[in-house]
């Protein structure tokens, strides 16, 4: 177990290094940000001065090494645009995104898992078809369209929820719906197939024929096993949700990292973009690490299967 943990940690470190290389290299394709930071009347010397000040004239490998050595200490420099430490800026906006992502994920789970289970119980019936198509529609709608429609219907016409911003519990609902809709299909499908597998198992059949109420049977025995692939998928869904959060945050004026990232990319704010991707990637890796640990706890066979390779 310990050896497994050590291996996973080492893998994670390599992954993060790879991320840093990609992010660094990518951004240096985007061109020169100095023009954006200076007023219209700036002369060539001002531009040159700024470039040296920001260290953009040094060879790439030097810039990368400098970047990496500072990054591991948490120093991503000052955001060009906001002139405050990049990491601090991200950490202050991260909670908002995490809250939204969790809300979206929770909503997706709360809706999709029962739907999937229901579909499995009534397999191949009309209900099954309706459920499948229902959640698939959620996945088929572009998230920003869904968001705008939600605002129109529930905020403007019905007035049940606020249209934008983060202002108390009610303001979470619409963005979480928009965000979570995409994941619902995947989760429902997994819940359904996991449930189907388990239902076919002998011990479940036995329990059912023994007269225990079907309801109790499914929830007690089946859910545990259906949960296993679900737990794994949560880790991956998190990454997808973060992607969707970028757009959702823009529509709903949510003060999170997604909006910060869009802004940073458009204004070529190198340090901020690097820091954002680094933080999000680290988060993703950590979450998946945690998920893996939970997974092995649920089903220790995995460790042996893997170590046998």
């Amino acid at each position: 177990m310990l050896a497994y943990l050590a291996r996973r940690l080492l893998q994670s470190v390599f992954v993060l290094l790879g991320v840093s290389v990609i992010v660094f290299g990518l951004l240096h394709l985007t061109g020169d940000p100095t023009r954006l930071l200076l007023p219209l009347e700036a002369r060539e010397e001002d531009v040159r001065q700024l470039r040296t000040l920001l260290g953009l004239d040094d060879p790439l490998w030097l810039q990368y090494t400098r970047f990496l050595s500072r990054a591991v200490r948490g120093d991503f420099g000052l955001s060009f645009k906001h002139q405050v430490p990049a990491l601090g800026l991200i950490l202050s906006t991260l909670p908002a995104t995490l809250q939204l992502t969790l809300a979206g994920l929770s909503l997706a789970l709360v809706v999709a898992v029962p739907v999937g289970i229901l579909a499995a119980l009534r397999r191949n019936s009309l209900l099954d078809a309706i459920c499948s198509v229902g959640v698939l529609m959620g996945q088929a709608m572009p998230v920003y369209w869904l968001g705008l429609l939600l605002i129109l219907v529930f905020a403007v016409w019905l007035g049940w929820f606020p249209a934008a911003g983060r202002d108390g519990l009610r303001s979470f609902v619409l963005p979480a719906c928009a965000l979570g809709a995409f994941s619902m299909a995947r989760i429902a499908r997994l819940a359904r197939s996991g449930m189907l597998e388990v239902l076919a198992q002998d011990y479940v059949r036995t329990a059912r024929s023994a007269g225990v109420r079907a309801f109790v049977v499914t929830y007690k025995y089946a859910l545990k096993n259906a949960a296993i692939p679900l737990v794994t998928v949560i880790g991956l869904e998190f990454g997808i949700l973060l992607g969707g959060a970028v757009i959702t945050e823009t529509i709903f004026a949510w003060p999170g990292v997604g909006r910060l990232a869009v802004d940073a990319i458009f204004s070529r704010d190198y340090p901020l973009v690097q820091a954002i991707v680094a933080v999000l990637a680290t988060l993703f890796v950590l979450i998946n690490l945690a998920v893996d640990l939970v997974y092995t706890y649920l089903d220790p066979r995995i460790v042996y299967v893997r170590s046998a390779r």
Partner: protein, 294 residues
């Protein structure tokens, strides 16, 4: 992380007790796709107007069945007086073109890397899997934005970027399949007989891995269509005046309450296409390889 998903809990064999009957999903999916594909191909013939033609005097006309609607514009006009139906038909071409090309690229990349990883194992496998993890860790949309930004938004760049960020799914699934196939007798046997790896890969391994590839490709196509529209929404997609569904949605987003037809029809088009593709993919998966956990 990647290994866990692929290997998964032990796969119990499911008795295939399903009755043979025509699946609604397959029929629906294929029909819709054929319809969309046909209209996309025949767009220049079918479209009543030039999609880029602005008729400023006829801007924001509702669909023909409404009071202010016009017969010659069945789905209405947008804020520059362009015919919505024509734009949808032409937009379908782009959306499908981008989607299919990007999937092809992603599949090409992913399958190759997955095959190498699964077949050669060891160090190659480890390196490729780490690269996969790296791509998974970076939020795809930020990656896409960054790249399109750097290279400039154009049809080619959008396809490249989408293909380069989504190959991961293919790699993982192919690798998993290759790993399990590798263990089988006939491959070990063939190797013992001294067949070269390359031929082995192509003749024995690849055909067996084909089914998951098809399933993933179908599901990824759906994702690509939405992905492209998201990039357009952010202003980074294929540029005007080429109409794409994503741009139409983006154009129409400010008119949702007043001129609902600007955004609704492209939105429905996207939804319908993606739904059809997803249903098809689902059916393919259920028929070909229900154990796939994707």
């Amino acid at each position: 992380m990647t290994e866990a998903v692929a290997v998964g809990a032990a796969r119990p064999a499911i008795a295939r007790t399903r009755r043979r009957r025509v699946s609604f999903r397959a029929v629906f999916g294929i029909t819709v796709l054929l319809a969309i594909g046909a209209s996309a191909l025949l767009a220049p013939r079918l479209a009543p107007w030039d999609p880029a033609r602005q008729m400023l005097l006829k801007r924001l006309r509702p669909p023909a069945w409404e009071a202010r609607g016009l017969r010659e514009h069945p789905l209405g006009t947008d804020h520059l007086g362009r015919d919505i139906l024509s734009r949808i038909l032409h937009g379908g071409r782009i959306s499908l073109l981008v989607g299919l090309s990007a999937v092809a690229l992603a599949a090409g990349l992913g399958v190759t890397l997955g095959l190498c990883a699964g077949f050669f194992g060891g160090r190659t496998d480890a390196i490729i899997m780490r690269i996969v993890d790296v791509f998974l860790a970076i939020p795809y949309i930020l990656l896409a934005m960054g790249v399109v930004f750097a290279l400039g938004p154009s049809l080619l760049n959008v396809i490249l970027v989408m293909g380069a960020t989504r190959w991961v799914q293919f790699a993982r699934i192919v690798r998993a399949d290759v790993l399990s196939i590798r263990e089988r007798e006939f491959v070990t046997g063939a190797r013992a007989r001294g067949n070269r790896s390359g031929r082995l890969l192509l003749r024995h391994v690849l055909p067996n891995a084909l089914t998951p590839i098809i399933v993933v490709a179908t599901l990824e196509l759906a994702f690509m269509i939405i992905y492209e529209s998201a990039l357009s929404f952010l202003g980074l997609g294929v540029q005007p005046p080429t109409p794409t569904w994503g741009w139409m949605l983006s154009d129409g987003r400010n008119y949702i309450a007043t001129a609902w037809w600007l955004a609704t029809f492209p939105g429905l088009a996207i939804m319908l296409t993606v739904l059809a593709v997803n249903l098809l993919g689902d059916w393919l998966r259920d028929t070909l390889d229900p154990r796939l956990k994707i």
